[in-house]
Structures are given as C-alpha cells and as structure tokens.
Amino acid sequence: MSSAEGTGGIQVRNLQFSYGERPVLAGVDLSVGTGEIVGLLGPNGSGKSTLVKLLSGVLRPYGGSATLGGRELKDMAAREVARILAVVPQEPVFGFSFNALEVVLMGRHPHLAGLAFESDHDIARAKEALEKCGALEFAHRPVLELSAGERQRVVAARALAQEPEFLLLDEPSSFMDIRHQVELYDLIRSQADDEGTGVMAVLHDLNIAAEYCDRIYLLKEGRILASGPTTEVFTYANLKETFDTDVYVDVNALTGRMLVVPLSRKRKR
C-alpha cells in the first residue's frame, strides 16, 4: 500500500509508553494507510490495547511520534481526533437507560456544536449504521438489557456513525458468534474498500486475521516482532516466538490464505 508510506494515514515512529515504572511500549513503528486493514496480534499484556488507547488520545503523554493524517497526535484536541478516528472498544461501558439508537447517535457528538440536536441527517446516518451492523431490530431497546454480542454490534454502529477516516478495533468480536463475526468483518472490509477507511484491528483469532487483514504486526512485550502480509508473517517460528505456543501452520486449500491451528501442549512428541 503506497499510502502507508509518507505522512498520510496513521504513522507511528519509535512510540514509547509506560505505566509508571513499567514500560509497555518500547519503541513501536507502525503505519495504517487509507483503505487497508492492519492486524495487531500478540499475547495478553503485549501492549495492544495500550496502543489503541494512545492512538485514540485516551493515554497521554508518549515518547516518540504518532501522527494522524500528518498531524502529531499530541497537538490535537480530543474533539479533533474524534472527528477522524473512531474506536470499537473491547469492553464498552454504558450507563442509565439510553437505547441503542441514542447510543449510536452519540457517535455524532464530535460533529455537532454546543447544545445542537441531532438533525434528520444524523438520525438517518445512525439508523443506516445500525442496519449495517445488524442491530436495527433492537434500536429502541435499552443497551443495558442487550447481550454482550448485541452491545458490541451497537458500539460498532456508533463507530460507523462517527464517519471516521480511521477505525481502531480492539477485539471487537470477542462476544460474537461466528455469523456475526463474519458479518462484522465483511462490513469492515467493504468500509475499507468502498470508503477508504484505514483500519487497525487488535485480534486474537489468527484465522480471522488471515482472512481479512492486508498486513499484520506481531507485538510482544511492547516491541514489533514481525510485520508484513500474513503469508510472510504467519510462520511457525514467528508465531511460536510471539505466543510461546506450538501451532500448525498451513495454507487454506479453499482460500489460499494462511491456516493456523493451535496445538495442545499435551500432544507433544
């Protein structure tokens, strides 16, 4: 992807961050161009969620450089970031009896001024987003009464309603059944292809990553271990080193994509 180079998209150079004394990111280089889906994979505690929080302006300050569309993130107000970048968090939080439509409408927040009420255009966008995410049927139900998987679809719809140039997904499908997972990632694929949205997705499912991601970064202990297309990155050696787990790696005969199967430690020898 040519757009991944240069100053456009998300550009991360030698990014460092620590919680107190404990370093979490120790010099990460990464880029997300327009229209591509980039996967971020790594074991628990490797710094994936921290990277999402840094890039969405939740955690500050950081060492090194991170730019959004050519502008240094440090110099951008939360509102400016929210206008071009949306997040689908791992564990969304809600309060009170807001229904799904109202929560999706909150995605219009960075585009509205002051006390403004959502226009018909905003409401149309919100309903469109709910429909794309298969959540229109529970538009008027309180979010707190929905199942975890349904809530994730509502939150995905909110991110779409934000009309972002960049989308950060933090394990967005952890509570979804495979049908809704496939529907979500198909949607994100077409969002990238048709709208040019640049996507960075934190994923646990290696095969979902192989199916949908244009490029992959393997993250371990705050460092990038390997990066590139899944066909190059998903090797036994890379995955073994990243996850400390034996895997069987093959090419999926049907799709030509990589196929990764974790192996039980008891199976050894």
Binding site: K53, S56, G57, V58, A77, A78, R79, E80, V81, A82, R83, A86, V87, P89, P92, V93, F94, G95, F96, S97, F98, N99, L101, E102, V103, L105, M106, G107, H109, P110, L112, G114, L115, A116, F117, E118, I123, H140, L144, Q162
Partner: protein
C-alpha cells in the same frame, strides 16, 4: 410498558420544560396560598377587596421569598445530583449521600463561628460568608471522597457510598462539637443548618442565590451532550471528543458550588438530588439536554411542596424540611439499592 422513545428534539425539550415550568408555577402558587397566619393568595390578587396590609406584607415579605428560596435550593441540589450521577454513572450519587452536603455544612458552621454569616454581621447585600465557606467545604469533601473511593484508577460504588456515609457521620460529629463551643446566638443558626430548614430571608439572599444557582445550572446545561457521552465511561467519552478532565473539573467545582449555596442557606436537605432525577429519567428518558433543565424545575417544585408541608403539617409549629425529604428519600434510596443490579450500570 416500554414504548419506542424518539431521539430528543428541540421541540421535545421545549415541551418538557414548558410542562415542568407549569408544575413549578402551580407549586409556587400552592406554597403562597397556604400557611400559618393570615395572608392567603387572595390578598395579593384582590388587593382592593381585602383591606389587610398585614396579610399582603406576610405574603410578599415573608412567604414569597421563602417559597422562591425553596425553589432555588431544591433546583440546585437536584441538578447537582444529576451531574454527579452522570459523572459517576450511578443513580445513587446525590450530594447528601456522597457526603458533599456534609462537607458544606462544616464550612457553613465554621463561617457562623467565625462571625462571617448567619443572623449576625457579615451579611452584605445578601452575600453571606457561609456561602463561600460552604462551597469550599463541599469541594474539599468531594475531592477527598473521590480520592478515597478511587482504588487503582477505578471507583467501586460501594466504597463510594460507604465513604460518603462515614463522612456524613464525621461531619455530624464535627458540627455537634462546634455547636458545643458556640454562643447562644450562633447555636440557633447551627441547629437549623443541621436539620435542613428553608428560612425566611430578605430578597437580597434570594437575589444572590438566584444569580449563582441559575447561572451555574445554565452553564452545566450547555455541557449536556458531554454528560450524555460521559455515560460511556471516561475512555468512551474521550474517544467521542469530550475533554473529560475539563468536564470532571467543572462538574466537581460547579456541583460543589450548587451544593454549597443550598447548604449555606438551608442546611442539610437530603435525597432530593436522588429522587427527582430518577423519576424524571423514568418519564423523560436519560438525555441530559432534557434532564438538567427539568431537574432544576422538578427539584424546585419538589422542595417548594415539601416546605409547604413542613410549615403546615404541625401548625402552629414547623417541621424541618430535611425531615420530610429524608422520610421520602431514605426508603427510595434503599429501594434503588435493592432493585438495581450491581452489574455494569453500577461500576
């Protein structure tokens, strides 16, 4: 039971505000027309027919300022509750339950002891030293309680409630202590500040409170959409473009200001900020663009009526209005505590 609620529009907001304004107007009329002694509403409406100057004077110089004061105090405490609840994502966060009122009452009593307020000197144009001290006490208590209740960056609702309860017990003891070293004149002010009581003050105090409270409520109202986003948690709100630290700071300061102003005049009037926003959310939905202005009007109506009850129920005596709000609010608090699940909505 649940009908599909349409997203809030400007017209919807105007309807809500109009209806609650009518409720408030009705409450004020009721508050003016009843009470001990002469001076019914008739004397104002038909000044020619009823030739009683005393009645008019009671109405205009005693009852009207008191009713207006009750409205302002009720509105202030309710809006303070509504914004604390948005910030903490917790329907139990009332200034009294959190212990903020307790902090304000310590400040208020200290001001009386220092000769800076109450019936003595220190009153100038309705501005009262108690207001400043109560505000500082409220803010100090809120910052302290938030620090204590936050463990590893997150706040457990039970720690918060427990801290508030302990702080209330502490501030009660503090006030009993201060009471024991106070003079007889000061004692009168202190006792009322403990029980919760809407006094009959001059229009000076009403004017100062009206400017302070209405101005603060309007300011908070302009942050209403930010409060909606805050219900998605601090992270979620940031990712929607809310300057979370700024909102938190402003809510702490302005919520404390509302509480301090109310407590400095009326003492400990509890639970209004808990009962009224909850009822309004059930009827009008949780959107803060509706909730904040309607909380002001609804809370104002509630305290005007509670005060009406307080001064008429045991004629010729008078009940502290805090007794009435606590008798209604205490059981309501327990009901909320029992029925709300301790799942996501309480974290």
């Amino acid at each position: 039971m649940r009908t599909a609620r349409k997203p809030l529009t400007a017209a919807g907001l105007l309807w809500g505000v109009a209806i609650l304004s009518a409720v408030l107007a009705g409450s004020i009329l009721a508050g003016l027309s009843a009470g001990g002694g002469e001076g019914g509403l008739k004397s104002l409406l038909f000044p020619g027919e009823i030739d009683d100057h005393n009645a008019r004077r009671i109405l205009l110089e005693v009852r009207l300022p008191r009713v207006l004061l009750a409205a302002l105090i009720g509105g202030a405490l309710t809006v303070a509750g509504a914004v604390f609840q948005a910030l903490l994502r917790n329907p139990l966060a009332d200034p009294f339950v959190l212990g903020v009122s307790g902090g304000a009452s310590i400040g208020s009593v200290l001001a009386v002891l220092a000769g800076l307020g109450g019936t003595g000197a220190g009153m100038a144009f309705g501005l009262d030293g108690r207001m400043v001290f109560a505000f500082m006490g409220a803010l100090g208590a809120l910052i302290l309680i938030e620090k204590i209740a936050t463990v590893d960056g997150s706040m457990s609702v039970y720690t918060l409630l427990l801290t508030g309860a302990i702080f209330n017990a502490f501030s009660g003891a503090m006030i009993y202590f201060l009471q024991s070293i106070a003079s007889l004149v000061q004692l009168h002010d202190i006792v009322f500040s403990l029980m919760g009581h809407v006094p009959s003050t001059g229009y000076g105090t009403v004017g100062v409170l009206a400017i302070g409270i209405v101005g603060t409520v309007l300011f908070l109202f302009f942050h209403a959409r930010d409060y909606n986003a805050m219900t998605l948690g601090e992270e979620g709100a940031t990712q929607l473009g809310v300057d979370v630290e700024k909102i938190k700071r402003r809510t702490f300061v302005l919520g404390s200001l509302l509480t301090g102003l109310a407590v400095s005049v009326a003492g400990l009037v509890g639970f209004i900020g808990l009962v009224v926003p909850h009822m309004l959310r059930l009827i009008l939905g949780p959107d803060h663009r509706m909730l904040i202005p309607c909380s002001f009007l609804g809370g104002a109506s509630f305290l005007v009526l509670a005060d009406l009850l307080a001064r008429t129920i045991i004629l010729p005596g008078e009940l502290p209005v805090g007794v009435i709000t606590a008798l209604v609010g205490g059981p309501f608090f327990l009901y909320l505590l029992r029925t709300r699940r301790t799942g996501h909505e309480f974290r």
